[in-house]
């Protein structure tokens, strides 16, 4: 659906993208994750034709992005902080936006009413948007992005600035849109959000793609399960980490003070082996099984702090 190869973009002395690759399958919710300044927003802006790449190719449904008009008809974009015409009401902003897409008449009016209703904006739709909260503005931005019924939605940090209730509503809206067949690209540095929403991810760092795959596949590569073993002191933890790393079933071992974290693939067969070996070495004060998170995956591939 979207294919980007070897994208580069420079802003003055800053090289924002240094050969980024991105592949987005039809009907998927794909996450674009990376630390601040990795090039996530730049990528979204290039895909929405707002900025021009210095080099590289991008196609949307096999149409080169340089043919802007056709590509933009297929795309809806929701910026991180949507700026709207504050003196207008949501309804008149939607009306104006619809006309930009060649829509009009009763059909546009009824479509606007439907979208206002589905995004729970009916109480405020006719008030000037200067009085709207961040959540309301975000919902208006989603309404604007959806009005022309695009195949692809580009969401830049969709959850930023939203309170937990609105986040939940937003998550449901995104999932519902995906069920209706929309292909969605979510750029976010909140890995929890991406983990909850996405089927696949592209991890980027310093303007380059580090890895791109389905989350399940990445989890498999990182280890499906982690076991946290708490021992009496740091010395014992260090020795246990070293010994466990020699086992074939262990994918990765890390240590945090008295805590040893062991990543494995097959919980049924691997856990007893590890517990047995650990208890032979030292006294285990506590043992806990945890799921491998997207943060673990990110740390493995990007190898650094994000956020």
């Amino acid at each position: 659906m979207i294919v980007a190869n070897d994208l580069t973009k420079r802003f003055g002395k800053v090289e924002a993208l240094k050969g980024l690759d991105l592949h987005l399958k039809k009907g998927s919710i794909h996450g674009l994750i990376g630390p601040n300044g990795a090039g996530k927003s730049t990528t979204i802006k290039i895909l929405s034709t707002l900025i021009h790449p210095d080099s590289g190719d991008v196609t949307v449904n096999d149409i080169p992005i340089k043919r802007g008009v056709k590509v933009r008809s297929m795309i809806g974009v929701v910026p991180e902080t949507p700026r709207l015409h504050e003196n207008k009401s949501a309804r008149s902003e939607l009306m104006y936006h619809g006309r930009l897409y060649g829509m009009g008449g009763k059909e546009l009016s009824s479509q606007i009413s439907d979208i206002i209703y589905s995004l729970h904006l009916e109480d405020v739709a006719d008030r000037p948007m200067r009085g709207y909260s961040t959540g309301m503005k975000k919902r208006v931005a989603v309404a604007l992005a959806l009005l022309h019924d695009p195949e692809i939605l580009l969401l830049d940090e969709p959850m930023s600035g939203l309170d937990p209730t609105i986040r939940k509503q937003f998550k449901d809206i995104i999932l519902e849109l995906n069920l209706k067949g929309k292909t969605i690209l979510v750029s976010d540095h909140d890995l929890y959000t991406v983990d909850e929403l996405c089927d696949s991810v592209t991890i980027i760092q310093d303007g380059k793609t580090v890895v791109e795959d389905t989350i399940d596949s990445l989890r498999h590569k990182t280890g499906n399960i982690a076991i946290e073993l708490k021992v009496s002191d740091m010395m014992a933890a260090e020795k246990l980490s070293y010994d466990l790393s020699s086992l074939d079933c262990v994918i990765d071992v890390s240590q945090n003070r008295e805590l040893v974290i062991v990543k494995i693939r097959e919980p049924e067969t691997d856990i007893p082996v590890i517990i047995r070996m650990a208890s032979e070495q030292t006294a285990i004060l506590e043992a806990r099984q945890t799921k491998i998170t997207l943060e673990d995956i990110f740390m493995k591939f990007a190898g650094g702090y994000h956020g």
Partner: protein, 314 residues
Amino acid sequence: MVNLLSGMMAIALDEFKFAIKRKTITSYIFFGIVFGLTLYGTYTQQYGPLQGEMQELPINMDLKKGTAPLIDVAIFMITFSLSTLQPAVAGVSPDIVLPVDIGIALFIIAPLLIGITSLSKLAARLGASTIAREREVKTMYLLAASPQPRVFIYLSKFKATIAAFLPMIILIFAGTVWIIDASFMPYIETGQASVLKSHVLIASTVTAFFFASLGMLISTITRNEEGAVNRSGWTTRIAAALATLWVFLPVFYVAGENTVSVIESLTKVSPITLDMIALYSGTMFNQYMLIQGVAGLVFLIVGLATFVQQDVEY
């Protein structure tokens, strides 16, 4: 397929609404008062046949008729003073009847200069506000991410700018028609009157086009609306100052012909000066309008090309 024309109309209408809100009504009120008063002032004078026919006394001064309106006004005032000196000394108050070419000179250097300056200022300001405003408040992404081509976005905003200053052109033209018909008509030929009227209409339109294009170019390369409006304001202020300098050119004869020649060349940088010269002498009209028109077109194309290539932030 997206209906591009409907989109263009929507952008133009939206921009027009903004243009109306942005001190445009104040500009029209100011223009109405100043242009109206000076025009009425011109109307209240009595006019007679051409100056050449009225001259009774030869004057021995190094003034060249026809190069600047103030010279003609000065020649008339000196001639009038000399010819009325005797009855004035005898206690008879002379009736002043201005020759019609002096009336035309006064019309050009007072109401028309003010009118064209106000129009230029408005056109430049409206143009300057278009792109920079949306860039500053970061709403340009709404347009740039829509299927409307950037060329159409730019031209729609330009169209709205034209629509907002068009009534001022019409008012200047209407004022010109009125003063010619009401005050000058019996003393100038119908053909000459028609030429002057059409020249005022063309000069106003071309100058407004020039400043609107320049304003939009400034808007394209300036980060915020205030900066763009200030810059465009300076362009019209400089242009108006140079045109005023041209009007007062005869004063600089005291400093020598070379100085006058240098200052005159400098004043011709201003499109408003070109309007004044073209309207007064009539000889260089087509060339001067062509220069302004081409310059305006170049500004429009450069602004358009810059805007199409620009990155849009949200």
